[in-house]
Assembly symmetry: D3
Homo-oligomer: 339 residues x 6
């Protein structure tokens, strides 16, 4: 059902929309329009850059919007497809889930052409855009609810060559931390669908919370450009942390349930450890305070493993079962490449 | 109408509530209970410590809840009255305004005993608790919408002796920045009512956004204790920035309309300057991006004065007229004390 | 602003409306119509019968609607003014407060002709209908949030003659319990305004909860007719509890704060005593269970005085500060008449 | 509290805003910005043109926005102040009432500088803009709930000279119908405040419903220009209905309660008479159908006076008490001028 | 799951309901009752008349309700099944989609007996009522969001005999315009299901917007009766446009994406062409104004094909992607019958 | 996807949670935690006790929470699995349906591991907990919308041995009434899934409305313990109605559509018969009053069969199609066991 007037095979730079039918009470024959920029110039990889898979994560949306305005046909070798705000209705509402259908787009793959708007978008990527692409870059952050140490991250895909290419591209973002993660809560992820199609997939968690600092914007915008150089799409010289005078990235991994600490009860969460700090199993990481009964001792949140505090809950007001902290242990490149 | 079973004159430590009548659809004869801790021990000042004037500012609420549990009668000289979550319904909802009456408690003073819940709370402070107090500490942050460099702050009250005492107490928080502010948008503030009653008023803006980092929690909790020592309520040795090996606080001031930069249009705000950084008039501080039309040039936000970026808007999704940045110029202690 | 086409001085039976202007988004020139029945027949008292002061209390509304349909001009001596659903918007929404303005009509007196709908209704009663009336009957129940032992009740008005007349009319409802109450949470009550105008005021609390049993409907409908006979408006023979073979009414009174038990914390309330049962100070009346932590001991609710459980909270889901039980001690008629 | 950086005394054309402070949960230091255009050029009247007093009436908003863009300094003699969307938050929400404070701006005069946003706007007009103005043009339509025959209209102000000037300006809009109205439902109207200050006030009801036809847009835009020529603000030749080959305007008047027909019950309203048609007392004008019981006879709505159907309710779904039709009798110019 | 106590085979006139189970928070064992009238009298076709497929389209609902009350058994030859408000919950809410399940009933076919209420209704038509019927009449309008020139319309079904019968019945509505349309935005339409079952399907778009003028009510009510005569269900003489002294219907067709004009951006839509007017490709049809920035040039909406403006968006407040205009080119009967 | 750290095979008493992944706007990696208590002690049946299948039915939730706290390992023979609030999000919201997904958990079986939270919970019971169990006890009440005479109840399962065991366990609850019911409105019930797996299933309807009286709490808590003794899980002596000096339970049955009386129209429902009373076909059971038109005769609700009023609607405000009364005829044990 998704339609676009863009011609993905035409040379040069085009600005257009994915047009997704959406009938609602105030628009019987309405559509959601998702802005897309396409730049095509000769031989080279096709790179799909996605922001706003979750609507409340603006780091990548802003980086992609700026790149879409600034990039010229001449700078490109191959084809660049930029969708700054993939879950467009959620981006307009600053929500993780689509306000139109309540869906988490990142759990909606492979999608359904007869489903709600999120399913239609997922289906279009699965059947049209992923097959066109060599590289898929999906820029996330913690959104409103979580804050990460700014990092690029990846799955341990089973194909070793694919994994090595992804590892190398992950490092090209030049973040202080890199993060190996697993999906313990659901299926239907966008990167998994792209990985299953054999693509070089690059993903990130660039900070979080409702705001984005100027510093994190720089990480998003410079990292994206560097990765695009790394994969041969943009002309230019790839930068490295060493070349920038920075220490090597710290590679971390959180694959066990025990690494994810949940709120034992609803209340007001206080984090007691700074992000990116090393903690030990048994350390007090935070506590849940009782607003109605401030005299009652708070509920402790204790680390169950050693590692870095890689992400924490942002809103102090917390419900039982919310993830309040993740502890990720340091691993070597070798472990990642051969695990 | 507000009732409490606490006896503010009794020696020792008591835990209780302000009981504010509130009739609603699910509770015809219901009340809002606002937790209060009172500790009385011999001669000394009466200090009123308030958190949660705005419900979404948890730095002070957590600092006050912890102090309420930890403080012993023996540590006190005088009387400590702690209300961790003054706008209790807003604290439970994580909102700036009270969800019960839509009011901004910090614009509700002097209050009204026949008004809605917020007005009743304001009236109780104005007529009962402020008259009991020598020192009023009202701990704010930027809440969900703004992030400040963590700072203590104050008004330029006309009484020079009162101003000098407030200045000295402001410095006792030991924050990197101090901030002199004016009220350009409304009357009815809690600190103004307390100032008008001649109290030593200490206020803060300790960061902001929905989350609070461990570092800012430390600033809140250590600063509060140090101010309580400074005013003679808690026993102990007062710390200073110099004693801690820190450079002097940077005193800043934003008293002109031009210091406050508003969003010229609704859209997605990108800050381009780090908090606490010095900018010059004419510098590009940020921009508003157009989600529906990413090809259109963003609307620039430009500094109109020289100074430090003392606070910025947090949520990227922004409406026309939202304050997105405040530029505060550096001033000397002399300027503050004698202006 | 309130208009009616009814002629309160015309003989016979009329059906009409109070017309209260209300401009809203779906009706620029709209009005709230409050149904009124007037029956006038020669000499006798003017009796104003009101249901639905709180919209979620349908006992009196149904009794008044049925009486309005059934009563004939011939049965009346004097003038009967029936307003079955006084807070009409709340009655349509089944809420205590008006959904149009959020007001508790029973705290809106004496009202304001330029105020919102509830204030306009209050003002019309204060300035037009109360002055016309000798007797004002305001039929309440506990509404959605509270359940009372079905009872008629009254204030201890200072005028002894007025008090004696009200006491006598209260007994004419023939309920098992009678209840002397005070207003500890607010001003602006409808009966207080009527009492201040010197009227014979009859009020009730006929059960509660969202539903009304057939038994309570009978108490409402038979009691209303008997009181109307008692005050000389309807022809017929007054019934008494003795004449019906029933024991005397139990007169109870709750005038102290300690008689009103509040939820110490939010949770799931369990009542442990049957309504109308005698309890002793120190008895466990109920408890608040913790849904998230069922292993934690529930918070006890303990009686602080001896007396009958005269009313209890209905919804199990309870917020801190909700009134969960009221204990009323038995008093003699003498105490009521001469206190 | 309202601030503007516009200089109303400066020559030439300026675009700016009224800046109204508004603190909310997503913007602690936010403002509502109301766009304003000012054009000043030498001697001549000051004319204040207002659209969007009710937010869901876009005829005048669009006419004013277009005029603001198109008008040049040279075309003006005097001063033109254009506020296309006076109740700006309501215009953004397409609602009659402000979504920020629930207020009807056209019942908020003279306003309150410490009140909510609507009150502040009203106060600014009352104290700043009306005193600057000679002519006040307030362009209304029926909004979402009502549709009028497109007409200009006026009050019968007591001052005969003011009335004559207003009558003449009313005719300059060149609408097929003109309408004399009274305020039977409330005070605080914008035009009344301006009239009381002695201004020449011109008002309209240009159709209605959520949509505006191209034809009605032409009436709004051409009428506005012609009135501005009529009062001497814009250069050009005034047009008349006669000059345009049109029959004289039909002057109508609805001053009695009986002219306003209310829905006797909630249901689905069917109008049975075309707008602008002459009806007789006793004619069936419409009916209310019962959705749940289509077999039950609909409730008739019957004219109580002779006259033209000047306005009707738009949404079929209707609540009891909504105004569904207004019947206005024809009057002569003489009656209007000398009544 | 849908149950009815109606006997579709019994002679005479019956009034009853479809009873659709619906369990909700305020009614555990509740049902939606959809009113149905059945009139059976001897030999003749079975005609199913449906209004309210979209709840906010009342033209057909009122026509069907009136017919249901007025029709007598004697007037019928065959069987008439009238469902005035098919999507009953939406009709009560004046919304296009069902408020119970968010579904568009006209995209819910063939339905699901275990699905939500809309799916159950669709399934009942698909499996019970369509098989009983020879003719299916589904009366639409533009609803709240669109206004059409009042017209009957049809699909180009592949079966030529079916198409010819439908064409002939379409003309029997005697509207000024007739409209050939295609489904470019989704499947699951009610008429498609009926067409696939080989029924003679008659559909309309009778105006639109929240209101219905008396004139359009006449078109709906007279057209429906004439079509029922045309198909042999009602006794009487069929009227024709020629017989009524009217010019032939203008047959129009919009089958290409370019015929449908979308809003290029959110804002305030101004239509610049009258409905039913002929436009040329390149003509300016409307524009989107910017409320926040009235000084910015509006976004133009330009026709991309020649034809009549057959429908336009009603609410001025418009979101990007809303359909704001449809241009339909004139075609001959021959084209329709043999395309 | 559901995870638990509980070991269902470990001896002794454990407290833990079912952890159900739930990603939402305020918690990207959040979970719903459903509290579970497991007590295991040697040989004996496994009994699964469930409260809160519908969130607004607290009788069983409180009984299960209390049992969970009080029961000791020594009291158990076999294994007790207690889930006090099965539909945990609904229990926190006091709603029948889950506020997270709008689902009725009691229509969600057998469930779906990839579905929303309710489906995941259902699937976990179907695939993990039911297979572990010999006895499944699912404690219901009428919830907010209905009130039952407190009773235990059962389906007529086809397996005679299973039916006899269920009948015997039903009687062990010792309620005044027992109730044989059929599912006339939907599939997917929890007890049906458990019955299909051959379990001994015990269910109840213990009163209803938002509140629970102390008396009904006693029935819930004593009945649950007695049934657990009856099935051999808890040690102790089983009580019988005869042993308690009570008359035999009245066994009733409502299997026909005519036993279920629906509201013929929306309005205010008045019940006219006391719960548990015997009525005859043709008796007036209640009526629907018209708030807007109190002069119109109410719509009668008439019994269509003889039997006891076994349940009635609670909220007076009623919508067309709500079930307002159920009439159940008395049957013998023989009829139940051999039907």
């Amino acid at each position: 059902m998704v339609f676009t007037s863009l011609d993905f095979d035409a040379p040069g730079k085009q600005q257009g929309f994915l047009q997704v039918p959406y009938s609602h009470n105030l628009g019987g024959w309405a559509n959601v329009l998702v802005p897309v920029t396409v730049v095509q110039n000769g031989a080279g990889p096709t790179v799909l850059v996605l922001g706003g898979n979750h609507g409340d994560e603006y780091q990548g949306q802003i980086a992609a919007m700026k790149l879409a305005r600034e990039v010229t046909t001449e700078q490109v070798r191959g084809r660049l497809i930029l969708i700054p705000s993939l879950n467009f209705p959620a981006a307009q509402a600053a929500t993780r889930l689509s306000p139109l259908d309540g869906m988490n787009l990142n759990r909606a793959f492979p999608g359904d052409p007869e489903g709600p708007v999120s399913s239609q978008i997922a289906h279009y990527l699965t059947t049209v855009l992923f097959p066109l692409s060599d590289v898929v870059i999906d820029i996330h952050s913690g959104g409103r609810s979580m804050e990460f140490v700014p990092c690029s991250h990846m799955h341990l895909v089973p194909d070793r060559a694919q994994r090595a290419a992804m590892f190398s591209a992950m490092l090209a973002w030049n973040t202080e931390f890199s993060f190996i993660y697993a999906d313990i809560a659901g299926s239907g992820l966008l990167p998994v669908e792209a990985e299953n199609q054999g693509k070089l997939v690059v993903t990130t968690e660039l900070g979080g919370g409702e705001g984005v600092s100027a510093k994190v914007h720089r990480v998003a915008q410079q990292g994206l450009r560097n990765v695009l150089i790394h994969v041969g799409l943009l002309q230019g010289t790839e930068e490295t942390r060493a070349g920038l005078g920075l220490p090597p990235t710290i590679i971390t991994q959180a694959l066990n349930r025990d690494d994810y600490l949940l709120a034992p009860e609803s209340g007001i969460f206080e984090i007691m450890v700074d992000l990116g700090t090393l903690v030990r199993a048994g350390d007090l990481v935070g506590a849940i305070h009782h607003l109605e009964r401030p005299d009652r001792a708070p509920e402790p949140v204790v680390a169950r493993s050693d590692g870095f505090l890689i992400t924490m809950r942002v809103p102090c007001l917390t419900r039982q079962g919310d993830c309040v902290a993740v502890i990720a242990r340091q691993v070597s490149a070798d472990e990642v490449l051969h695990a």
